[in-house]
Amino acid sequence: MEFQNVPIEIGDNENIVRCICSPFHVDSKGKLKPGAYEPPPKSDEVSVIRSDIMGANFCKAKAKELETAKKFYKGLAVLQAGHIRSEGAEVVDSRIEYEGHADIKHGHKTTPGEPPPPEIVYLLRERYKKLAKIANYHEDPKPTVIDWQGPSLIYSEIAES
Amino acid sequence: MTAQKNAQTEHKQFKNPPIVELIAELRWGTPPVMEVTPGKLLELPIGSFSAHELFYKKFADKIAGNGYSQLERLIPEGFPSMPFQPVYRYRKSKEVADSTLYQLGVGIFTANVVPPYQSWVKFRPILENGIKLLLESFAADPNKQNINAINLRYINAFKESLLKGEGAKKFITETLGFKIELPQAILDQTTSSDEVKPLLKLSIPLKSNHQMMLTVAEGKVNEDESILMDIAVSLKSEFDQTADAIMRTFDEAHNSIYTVFVGITEKIHDVMGIK
């Protein structure tokens, strides 16, 4: 499909992938941590990829671009746009970054070096926790291989632990 | 009104009851938003030294009007107060013979009575009055917290005069009725199963949604050899913040404890002496 024909609107059932690179985004047991869905400073946007359109290999390639000498690509986390919206955030196409790029918009921008007001700390932390809990996190079984070797990036409901 | 009527129902009263202390306890505590600046004490309803002292004093002024004018500080001034630990004790003046007192601390209020304990009917107004004055002391507090837990506890000590010559094991298992059957493997190892010392600690969910904690053991109570029976009923809930609502919960707790106590001690009602 020509990307220009891809609709800007993101449906609730569309799969959205977050690239996981930081050791602080995954705990010692391999579970996704809430920090995986936190925005960078001065922003309320979390970069994600429209994986249904771009494919798993594209997602992995983008994740690998985030690697440095001290930070290694770990895997991919999948949610549906509807999950994100039901937790109070929005998901919007932002192809101006690159084709297939989208943002989770939390609606609250952080101040560098300072925490938000406590009611926002609570709201955001509960949201991040829920998203990390319901996401399908797939650790890449072969991170050095170019193509994605892990499970399908189609979201599946899993029992809450 | 029904609760009050229940409280005033003629329950059995005993001339020689084993009770050594009754404790009625309330707890509360959830912090609101607070601003803290360096050099200033943390303005917390629970934990802030200066805010608490005002609260304790407010209650002291009110309770003094009921004769409880003697204050005793239980934790040294300047010392951090841990939550749910009494800081002040309020008694009647030394000239007045009285077996009741109140305690107030970080997130906790108690009304205590030691012998001569007459009856729940006699103690109830003392408790209720303390709760009313506590709620009044809260009212002017901008950091007012809701009471969210109650606990009613009866500490009983069965001393020699009530044991009818029985040893601890026999009294606990046969007189009070806490049947204990030891496995044969243990019986085979002991010379006398009568010398086994039971220590029972039970947590019992009640039909009323309260929780009963019951401890029965041999021990010393105020230095006297006794069989201890400690019965407490507690409830955590979002109560209506009125003395009436809280007292209804205490009445329910009392009824549960009374029913259990009277049932368990049936075989020694004769030595306890019904009034």
């Binding site: 602080f24 400073p41 070096g113 406590p118 | 938003v33 934990g47 939550p83 009494p86 030691v114 837990a149």
Partner: protein
């Protein structure tokens, strides 16, 4: 033997300055008076100790008391977090400033006064703050520490809304930690000590 191990070196107490007392609830209370300060420790039946003390450095110079906290682990973790470089998460996260690290160490220092207080999860945040969080079956709490301010909440399961805190980072003190500790980890069912002196034979 009770030893205090929160920082090097360990300190020892002279036996004749220590008074011991068996409490009505069958715990042991050890107390001594030194330089007009009081230090009281309670030892639970399960041989774990819970301590109260005034956090004055010179106060500990004559004390040998074990509280058994994993303070060193917290301290080491915070030092490791101080080494995070810009973009540690791949999405532009800020490094953690010295100011935040110092406030975090102060908070970790306060936590050691509560030996039964489980270690929090300490997480770096992309905006350069540190988050201390606890989760239990009954509720959770979080303190986020910044250069000058802290912000956080405590929510118990039965509450509709959380309790909220904020203030200057340098003012995080014993009271706040005691509050979180009491709500999350101090069993509400634990009764207050009665006036009656009780000793159970075991």
């Amino acid at each position: 033997m009770i030893t205090y191990r929160s920082s090097e070196p360990e300190y020892s107490i002279l036996a004749d300055t220590l008074t011991t007392e068996i409490t009505p609830s069958l715990t042991s209370r050890y107390s001594f008076e030194e330089m007009h300060y009081f230090f009281i420790i309670k030892e639970t039946i399960n041989n774990q100790s819970v301590g109260h003390s005034l956090p004055q450095h010179h106060f500990f110079q004559n004390a040998l008391i074990t509280i058994g906290k994993e303070y060193k682990d917290l301290e080491n973790l915070i030092y490791d977090l101080s080494k995070l470089e810009f973009n540690w998460d791949g999405y532009g996260a800020l490094s953690i400033s010295q100011s935040v690290i110092l406030h975090a160490l102060n908070l970790a220092n306060l936590l050691k006064l509560f030996p039964r207080f489980p270690n929090p999860e300490i997480s770096p945040k992309p905006n350069g703050t540190l988050s201390f969080s606890w989760e239990t079956n009954d509720g959770g709490a979080c303190i986020e520490i910044g250069n000058t301010r802290f912000s956080g909440y405590l929510k118990m399961g039965q509450q509709k809304k959380p309790a909220l805190f904020q203030g200057q980072s340098s003012a995080i003190n014993f009271d706040l930690i005691a509050y979180i500790y009491s709500e999350l980890f101090l069993p509400i069912a634990l009764p207050t000590e009665p006036l009656t002196r009780i000793q159970i034979e075991e």
